[in-house]
């Protein structure tokens, strides 16, 4: 019924938006997170994502249940990609449908916040000058040309 998946294949966002649509849904909000070329003055060549897959899918499903309790009548689908991603590619998609739009926006934003808190997925940024796992405790290298 619901989709909560970690995948090593390119993500097609429309598939998730279509999945959450129902006759009682007046609104669908779809968020996609993309590999950004520049972060704080550092150029990213590509990203590499790793996940603790079974726990990550379990945690995403838990976030989905939280959303179902907080925003009645919503339906949600979440997917996160792992492996190497080029600039512009979709790392994560969250699609939420609801009868009225406000809940769809709110629930969608809640989902990405919760994913960033609790879902065991890690991003390694690969720059021209090196690479680093990104996490709350880590710092980017100093900007060379501010």
């Amino acid at each position: 019924m619901s989709i909560y998946e970690i995948t090593d294949k390119p993500i097609d966002p429309q598939r998730y938006a279509d999945h959450v649509l129902r006759p009682e849904a007046g609104a669908v909000v779809t968020f996609t997170g993309h590999v950004r070329e520049w972060t704080k003055g550092i150029r990213t060549l590509y990203l590499s994502y790793e996940a603790y897959v079974p726990m990550a899918e379990k945690k995403m499903a838990q976030i989905g249940r939280e959303i179902g309790e907080k925003w009645e009548g919503t339906r949600i689908a979440i997917a996160h990609r792992i492996g190497e991603l080029d600039v512009g590619e979709v790392a994560v998609v969250i699609a939420v449908s609801s009868p009225h739009r406000k809940a769809a926006y709110e629930a969608n934003e809640y989902a990405i916040e919760r994913i960033k808190q609790d879902v065991p997925i890690w991003k390694k940024e690969i720059w021209e000058t090196g690479e680093q796992w990104i996490g709350d405790q880590n710092k980017k290298p100093e900007v060379r040309n501010p």
């Binding site: 790392a91 960033k116 065991p120 890690w122 796992w133 996490g135």
Partner: protein, 77 residues
Amino acid sequence: MIKLLYFAGIRDLTGVPEEQAPLAGRTVGELMEWAEDKYPGIREGGARVAVNEEYALDGDVLTEGDTAAFIPPVSGG
């Protein structure tokens, strides 16, 4: 035996993605001390421990056959 899993920067530190250790009956806090002895610096990054795919508290006790994963700060999205 307890199955231990290491991810991301922590795996870079341990050099192995997983191993077995005789830690049944020990707490998660004791597991952390054991890991810090074997892999100095493993606690520095603020990793959490998940037991059987759920975040665990320091006082939770490991049971034979459990899987304990070291979860460095996540950075999905």
